[in-house]
């Protein structure tokens, strides 16, 4: 059983990462990752929606007729997004203002309905929850990586404005790595997001490629070892 969960984790975080491999939810991914704080906020919000929708979809999977499953999933997801929006509006007002339109747009993040349809509607509660956690975490990590890259290149800081998300104490998180007279706009504007995203995907593919090659050479060595073994 734990083997299956490990596989789920590997799928969500790396092999089938919603941001880097499935390329789902690119609209919010590219739009709000100009600072680490925004990326973290949207990442957490998406993770919560994904977790909630996967749990509910999995819980009702035996009662939902096949023909109307998609509208029902959409309603469930929209409800969760609205709930998150209301809660953020009430408790993290500054972040709510900063993320603005991208909270309601979580509804259109295909990664969420994709997991509901592909996984949660066919699996029991616990694997669905773990799948949601891992997929959400994978998505959030891509958001964070892209956010950190763009904020660092664009304005030379990390966690700028973190107090809006985490409260007053979080101002100490702000790191000024180097100070710029003028912001490096390319990194902050949408083209920078596309380029950064391309680099991240390329990086992931390069790592996968290298790993594959190493496995192949390992295999080759093993066969040779076995051959010599039979001779002696």
């Amino acid at each position: 059983m734990t083997q299956a969960y490990k596989e789920l984790a590997a799928q969500g975080l790396w092999k089938n990462n919603p941001g880097l491999v499935q390329l789902l939810g690119l609209c919010p991914l590219l739009a709000v990752t100009n600072t680490v704080t925004n990326a973290l906020g949207l990442g957490i919000a998406t993770l919560l929606v994904l977790l909630g929708s996967n749990l509910v979809v999995s819980a009702i999977r035996n009662w939902v007729p096949n023909e109307i499953r998609i509208p029902i999933f959409v309603m469930i997801i929209a409800s969760f997004v609205t709930a998150i929006q209301l809660l953020m509006n009430a408790f993290t007002y500054q972040l709510y203002l900063a993320l603005g339109i991208f909270i309601p747009l979580i509804v259109t993040n295909c990664a969420i309905i994709g997991r509901a349809e592909a996984f949660a509607s066919k699996n029991p509660l616990l694997p669905s929850a773990i799948d949601a956690l891992m997929m959400g975490l994978g998505f959030a990590l891509v958001l964070l990586a892209l956010g950190a890259m763009r904020e660092l290149l664009g304005q030379g800081t990390l966690f700028d404005g973190a107090d809006a998300l985490l409260g007053e104490w979080a101002t100490v998180l702000r790191i000024e790595v180097f100070s710029l007279d003028h912001y490096f706009l390319l990194a902050l504007l949408p083209p920078g997001a596309f380029i950064g995203m391309g680099l991240l995907i390329a990086g992931k593919n390069a790592i996968d490629h290298r790993q594959q090659q190493r496995q192949q050479t390992d295999k080759a060595e093993i066969t040779r070892a076995r051959v010599t073994g039979t001779i002696t």
């Binding site: 100009n34 939902v64 007729p65 023909e67 109307i68 509208p71 029902i72 309603m75 469930i76 929209a78 409800s79 609205t82 709930a83 209301l86 809660l87 509006n89 009430a90 408790f91 007002y93 500054q94 203002l97 664009g154 304005q155 404005g161 003028h182 912001y183 490096f184 706009l185 902050l188 504007l189």
Partner: protein, 208 residues
């Protein structure tokens, strides 16, 4: 044929009712807290532009004004009045610069009855990060250049960015944003100057 269709329709309706029901409960629960948050952020800005004012009195003494020509928005906008010994000491005007680089810029401006701008702040904008967003006090102190600037016949020509022969700095790479903000603040000040009768209107801000 009809039976499964009506069954599915009923099921969909049921799910919709459950979702709406749960959400309305949540909305009821969060509504007071959301209102509180909105008020707190408005108060913080009011306090910022007009430090002398006691907030609750300022919030109560508020009029809704409809002046798209001067304040840039089609709908009504609030003007808060601050009185000292019964006379108006300052107005705090919510105004809109409709011609920002990417959409409208919402501003809050404190103006003395004679048209002197006491202070101005940006409430909301979608200007380019790194260029136009210097109108946020968090990013740059450019908004402070409006402090205690009078709009009179003789100074009217200086109410523009330097590129247009005025006294306000433009930003490198972004002239449209400061130009829009300067114009909006100037118009708000002129509006106050030309309408002394605002002082005597009954307060009617409920529901904005």
């Amino acid at each position: 044929m009809i039976r499964p269709i009506s069954k599915n329709a009923l099921l969909l309706a049921l799910v919709a009712i459950i979702c709406v029901g749960l959400l309305s409960v949540l909305q009821q629960l969060t509504a007071p807290r959301i209102a509180e948050q909105r008020l707190a952020s408005k108060m913080a800005i009011l306090q910022d532009v007009l430090p002398a004012a006691a907030e609750q009195q300022l919030l109560d003494d508020c009029i809704a004004v409809h002046a798209p020509e001067w304040l840039g928005r089609a709908g009504p906008q609030s003007i808060f009045r601050w009185r000292e010994q019964g006379d108006i000491a300052a107005y705090v005007v919510e105004t809109t610069a409709p011609d920002g680089y990417s959409g409208a810029i919402e501003l809050m401006v404190a103006i003395a009855p004679d048209g002197t701008v006491l202070a101005a702040r940006t409430l909301q904008h979608q200007e380019t990060p790194g260029l136009g967003d210097k109108i946020e006090l968090r990013k740059s102190d450019w908004m402070l250049s409006f402090n205690d600037q009078a709009v009179t016949e003789s100074t009217l020509s200086r109410w523009a960015v330097q590129k247009d022969g005025g006294q306000f700095d433009q930003f490198t790479g972004a002239t449209i944003t400061p130009r829009a903000v300067v114009r909006a603040v100037k118009k708000a000040a002129l509006f106050i100057q030309k309408h002394p009768e605002l002082a005597n209107q009954p307060a009617n801000c409920e529901g904005i």
